[in-house]
Symmetry: C2
Subunit: 229 residues, 2 copies
């Protein structure tokens, strides 16, 4: 996609797509904050509770950055987020963790998937939006904590590994289901994801290939954590 | 209490009391984070949800400051917090908000009560601990948001005022009940609250008078918000 023209932030269609993108990411971060903070009650110790709380707070600070950018564009965050409310609520309602380890795996899968997605779309974005989006990628500290905990628990109880592998697969399936709905509903955003707003038609096959790459990377990552997906 | 000697942070009894104090405050902040973040689901709009999330995040950053100070004293925060786990869990379990307004009033009462308490104990603390504790007092932005929302809702539905006044009274009652238990259980902390560790005996009447002052200030504040307590 390197032969693409640089996106023009003043173009109406590009602008609409970026507002959608910032809106869905802002709501994803705010919802991740909320659900993760709620999952803190599953933590076995107060120190673990503080770790999960820390992750939730990091998501909230990402939300604040995205909201600030929307305000710079003259858009109320609530307006930008509202179209994605149902998709995110459905995702979370269908993936309520049953215990501490499911909560950790969900946080890990969500953060890594977000990171992959941000890198996928970076080259269809203008520099300001790109820096903002890539800047919200989790830096690996949380991942280190989670992977350590999950590996230790699986080595003590190998059956847990099987259950968490199924759980991770379900998380990925639900995430893709909701993402497909969003793509189907939001034309400007879909056009952007398909490789740029200047393309004459929305290329759903391109988006399909992106989802396939995200799924492959998820599977490779799960194998690293010791969870065959 | 101005004729008191400056507390000596190297004295073992004083140190034990300060570890207790930082422990209970740290757990109060961490628990407030958790419960408030959970209450975010009651928010009627995404913007309101973000406001409540912001309050929760502020509590978490207070927790971080207190944990850092405990670490400087060579104490693991989990160890310092554990003795207060039951009292805080009981308080929150008995004061689960039924709706958005109860959640707002709970956040307001909790923050203001904490502020009053911090000012009450400031002069029995060494300067480092005092600055830390007083520095975590909420600066009034959250209060402004909450008071505005609650007043507007009561003017639309006066019956809500009666319900929230009862709710605020219950919050204060539960807070005092759990505080009395903590005082009864933790001798060094009680001695500190009673006016300093150097006093020969624990003066429970002094603590009783402090609780009475906190209750009076709570009542005066509720009247200002339009809630007769």
């Amino acid at each position: 996609m390197t032969d693409q023209p640089e996106p023009n932030p003043d173009q109406a269609a590009y602008r609409a797509a970026v507002v959608d993108l910032l809106g869905v990411l802002a709501l994803a971060e705010l919802t991740a904050f909320e659900r993760l903070a709620e999952d803190a009650k599953l933590a076995p110790t107060l120190a673990d509770k503080a770790e999960v709380a820390q992750m939730a707070v990091a998501e909230f600070h990402h939300f604040e950055q995205l909201r600030r950018r929307l305000a710079e564009l003259g858009i109320d965050a609530e307006v930008a987020m509202t179209p994605f409310r149902d998709a995110l609520a459905r995702f979370h309602d269908r993936t309520v963790p049953n215990d501490w380890y499911e909560s950790l795996v969900k946080a890990y899968v969500g953060d890594r998937l977000a990171g992959d997605f941000y890198r996928e779309i970076a080259n269809v974005l203008d520099p300001v939006t790109r820096d903002l989006v890539v800047g919200t990628v989790e830096k690996g500290e949380q991942a280190k904590f989670i992977v350590g905990r999950v590996r230790a628990a699986i080595s003590e109880d190998p059956r847990l590994g099987g259950r968490l592998a199924l759980w991770a697969r379900r998380l990925m399936g639900e995430a893709l289901t909701q993402a497909q709905r969003v793509v189907a509903d939001r034309d400007a955003l879909s056009a952007l994801l398909a490789g740029g707003i200047d393309r004459p038609s929305i290329d759903l096959a391109t988006i399909g290939r992106m989802f396939a790459r995200l799924t492959d990377r998820h599977a490779a990552r799960m194998a690293e954590v010791g969870l065959d997906s």
